[in-house]
């Protein structure tokens, strides 16, 4: 009896999953199909909104002349490095603040100001200071996520139940041992969730950086397409960004699953 009910339950779950997948697919189809049709029948301006077929043609063209691989590669590299650097540096600063409560008190108002400040506004200064190249774009990608990572991770460090530290203190643990054995591992879930936020933020930083530097990358393609009024190029770049941003997010989720499982 139980067995058949369980089988029914499993089948219901399967059915629901299929249902969800089906509708997700239908939305995708309606979006691209509708876009194509609206553009073909001239209900939206093809010059501005392009169409899936035109975007596809541009894609093939750019792939075959090899320029797309270069731009995608550059942007990906900048985003991944910026993302990792932002998260690591943010966590490092959070650790220093945890280490020295006095320092954290001193720096508190500055963190608030830096957090409130729109980091992309620093773009021109970064480019002047670091030169118009990869380095300043990566710096943008990192800068945009450092402060928020610092604040969130520091809050997580402080939120760890002090009794866990007390257990180690009774064994005579040093501050470093307490950090390594308790504070850091207890904060892993928070660090992982900041990773998810930082994926999105780094893309913003890098794309804006490429807008400003305007030499290579998907951000450059967008700004270039905009300037020469080639919106096929703009929309193609957008779709590629959406694709790779999703992949990065999925990778972070895989990492999360691997760590939480432990």
């Amino acid at each position: 009896m139980d067995n058949t009910l369980f089988k029914q339950y499993q089948q219901m779950l399967k059915k629901e999953k299929r249902f969800v997948r089906l509708y997700q697919f239908i939305i995708l189809l309606v979006f691209f199909g509708g876009w194509e049709l609206l553009s073909r029948f001239g209900w939206i301006d093809r010059l501005i909104f392009s169409s899936p077929t035109y975007v596809w043609q541009t894609f093939i063209e750019k792939v075959s002349d090899g320029s797309l691989t270069l731009h995608v590669g550059v942007t990906l590299m900048e985003t991944v490095i910026g993302f990792i650097a932002g998260t690591l540096l943010g966590t490092l600063i959070a650790s220093v603040l945890w280490w020295s409560p006095l320092l954290s008190k001193v720096l508190d108002p500055y963190l608030v100001i830096l957090n409130a400040m729109p980091k992309v506004a620093l773009g021109p200064i970064l480019i002047v200071a670091l030169g118009p190249g990869y380095f300043s774009i990566i710096a943008m990608g990192a800068l945009i996520s450092i402060i928020i990572t610092t604040i969130v991770v520091y809050t997580a460090f402080k939120g760890v139940d002090p009794n866990y530290s007390k257990v180690l203190q009774t064994f005579g643990a040093t501050k470093w041992q307490i950090f390594r054995e308790v504070i850091l591992p207890a904060s892993f879930p928070t660090i992982i969730s900041t990773l998810k936020v930082n994926v999105g933020l780094s893309w913003v930083g890098v794309i804006v950086g490429e807008f400003l530097v305007s030499s290579k990358g998907l951000g450059y393609l967008i700004i270039y397409g905009f300037q020469v009024f080639n919106f096929n190029l703009v929309l193609m770049s957008l779709l590629i960004i959406a694709f790779f941003a999703t992949i990065m997010y999925q990778v972070v989720e895989l990492i999360e699953k691997a760590i939480i499982k432990k």
């Binding site: 257990v167 180690l168 009774t170 064994f171 054995e181 591992p185 207890a186 432990k262």
Partner: protein
């Protein structure tokens, strides 16, 4: 000569609005292998006193000696400390949890596994070494916490209401286990509790503290007949309720 000796312990907490005296002139001695309890109304500074004995922070005044050595933050003696809850690290296996003290003290790694297995057998959990804390019940987790405390072979065990978060049945079982284990290892132990019955059942002497500021009010000797019994049997013994009444009245008189 006491194994643990407290001399003129005073302690005050400071906040930005006031200084609060929590302990006043505490003097006591406990001999080696003895099991004593601290009871008293809330706010009598029992936990503070335990932290001072553990060397977690220094008292404002006074000295603590364990086995003749003065205790300070720099010279923490080997203390085993059990808290209200198990506080096992959820990301470590049971075995890693038991040996965390040894790891902190950087004793050789090879003996860890042997020690962990032996201790887990001792507390009646021989096959859980590779499990994670969330897979164990509350009573089992507190038993693992006991094993973790014993792993570093402490000179003295400080038990800060370690049974308060458990259901009644697990509590009774664990009381027996703790007394039995500590007797076997000849350990000196101090139990902080607000349960008079628990104090009588487990210890040889009961120190009653009064509050505001915390000071030692009276010491009760538990009769010889009860000392020999396991905590569970003490609760069934006719002499138990007399002792309970005496301590209860004294505690009531403190208001």
């Amino acid at each position: 000569m006491g194994f643990l000796k407290l001399e003129h312990i005073h302690h005050s907490y400071f906040s930005n609005t006031q200084a609060k005296e929590v302990l006043r002139n505490i003097n006591l001695e406990i001999s080696e292998g003895e099991f004593v309890s601290f009871i008293g109304p809330s706010g009598c500074g029992k936990t503070t006193l335990l932290s001072i004995i553990a060397g977690l922070f220094p008292s404002t005044e006074g000295n603590v000696y364990i086995d003749g050595e003065e205790i300070s933050a720099q010279n923490q003696s080997l203390i085993g400390y059990m808290l209200q809850q198990d506080y096992l690290f959820p990301w470590k296996t049971i075995e890693e949890n038991v040996t965390i003290g040894l790891k902190i003290m950087e004793r050789s790694n090879k003996t860890h596994k042997v020690t962990a297995n032996a201790l887990l057998r001792e507390v009646g959990l021989p096959h859980v070494g590779s499990n994670f804390p969330r897979e164990l019940s509350g009573g089992m987790r507190q038993r693992v916490a006991l094993a973790r405390t014993l792993a570093v072979n402490p000179k003295i065990l400080l038990l800060d209401e370690p049974f308060s978060a458990l259901d009644y049945q697990s509590k009774l079982k664990l009381e027996d286990l703790v007394v039995e284990t500590l007797k076997a290892y000849q350990k000196t132990a101090i139990l902080v509790t607000h349960d008079i019955g628990e104090a009588i059942a487990m210890s040889e002497r009961v120190f009653l503290f009064s509050a505001n500021p915390g000071s030692l009010h009276r010491v009760f000797e538990i009769p010889e007949v009860l000392r020999k019994l396991s905590p569970f049997d003490v609760r069934q013994h006719p002499a138990y309720s007399d002792v309970f009444q005496t301590i209860w009245k004294e505690l009531e008189s403190l208001g």
